[in-house]
């Protein structure tokens, strides 16, 4: 088998490692409530990680793979509540700026409600991310998927950061 013809297991180990690395490097920026894109970036990174882990379940022992797979899914879910409200607030704020005076009270009321929901969701998200990053999961990802999963690994040594929905 040539270098360009790796086994699926070898390829997936490297790809999943890279994607864990991106997730770990992206998380610290989410501590800033003003950085809306940070939450989005972690979500995208976790979705890409899930896409890789979803198809590689048969390639690794379930005993250690399944908990990490579940964690990857959990990251996407944990950030969804915040991200969805960030998007809504951005949209509603633009609407408020354009609306005639008699429409503003209703839109302002809606923004207030979504902002309250977002504040609560951010508290939950921050606690989840703190527990995730200070527990044993980062070290476990490096152990299982190699140094690419290490947040200290230089970005240029791994896959380029990708943005998108």
């Amino acid at each position: 088998m040539t270098e360009g013809d790796q086994t699926f297991r070898e390829t997936m180990r490297a790809l999943i490692g890279e994607r864990w690395g991106v997730v770990w490097r992206t998380i610290p920026a989410a501590a800033d409530p003003g950085d809306l894109e940070a939450v989005h970036d972690i979500r995208v990174a976790s979705r890409r990680l899930r896409a890789a882990m979803d198809v590689a379940t048969g390639a690794f022992p379930a005993g250690w793979y399944a908990p990490l797979h579940k964690t990857a899914k959990g990251i996407t879910a944990a950030l969804g509540e915040v991200r969805d409200r960030d998007v809504l607030i951005q949209h509603l704020t633009a609407e408020l700026e354009q609306a005639p005076p008699h429409e503003k009270p209703g839109i302002a009321l809606l923004i207030e409600r979504v902002e309250r929901q977002r504040a609560k969701a951010r508290v939950v998200m921050a606690a989840y991310l703190r527990e995730l990053t200070t527990g044993g999961v980062p070290a476990e990802t490096v152990r299982r998927f190699g140094s690419a999963a290490d947040p200290a690994t230089p970005v240029e040594a791994t896959a380029p950061k990708e943005r998108g929905r």
Partner: protein
């Protein structure tokens, strides 16, 4: 959101390309199974599922972009475009639901307050109470919310037509055939001893 279709028959010890093609075949089938969502404007949930399927297809193509080469890049662009147009459609659905929920909440709260007032008011004064209650003040928040709801429905209709146009455009260009070609096993030359006839 529907769960991703499982991919059977993957072999971890086989070359990546073989497994990548198998995964692509399933993700592609998942996408086209949801095609009817593009025929019916009111199929909101299925349009959302189609968006997720386009996302899964895109991620699969990106995951194995080395295996799929230049044609894979073109399919990534298509999957991304579909995902984005369907994502914008979904955003309108979320906003419509949000505004509807708020209107229902305000309506329920105001009628509950009115019922309490009626219960505590003399019978001959209820008519005047009703007249006031049924004529909302100029700053009633429902005015703005109803106007916003109307705009969101209009935007959704436009977005649905855009999504539909893009779907048919890709169909005309051969999106399905291109993906099928990528997911099919490469043609292997018959060896001298194996060929018959």
């Amino acid at each position: 959101m529907t769960r991703a279709w499982p991919v059977d028959g993957l072999d971890p010890d086989a070359p990546t390309a073989e497994n990548a093609r198998r995964i692509l075949a399933v993700r592609m089938a998942e996408l086209f199974a949801l095609e009817p969502a593009m025929w019916l404007e009111s199929a909101v949930r299925h349009q959302h599922d189609l968006r997720i399927a386009a996302k899964r297809l895109r991620y699969t193509l990106e995951l194995f972009r080395e295996e799929f080469g230049a044609s894979g890049e073109r399919q990534i662009e298509r999957a991304k475009a579909l995902q984005e147009v369907l994502g914008a459609l979904h955003d309108h659905d979320v906003q419509i639901k949000l505004v509807e929920d708020e209107l229902l909440r305000i309506g329920a709260e105001s009628i509950a307050a009115l019922l309490a007032e009626v219960a505590a008011t003399a019978a001959d004064e209820v008519e005047s109470l009703a007249t006031t209650a049924l004529r909302p003040p100029p700053d009633d928040p429902r005015r703005g919310l109803l106007a916003l709801l109307g705009r969101e429905h209009a935007r959704r209709r436009t977005q649905y037509r855009d999504a539909q146009r893009l779907w048919w455009q890709f169909a005309d260009e051969g999106f399905r055939a291109d993906l099928t070609a990528l997911s099919a096993s490469p043609v292997v030359a018959k060896d001298e001893g194996g060929a018959s006839g």
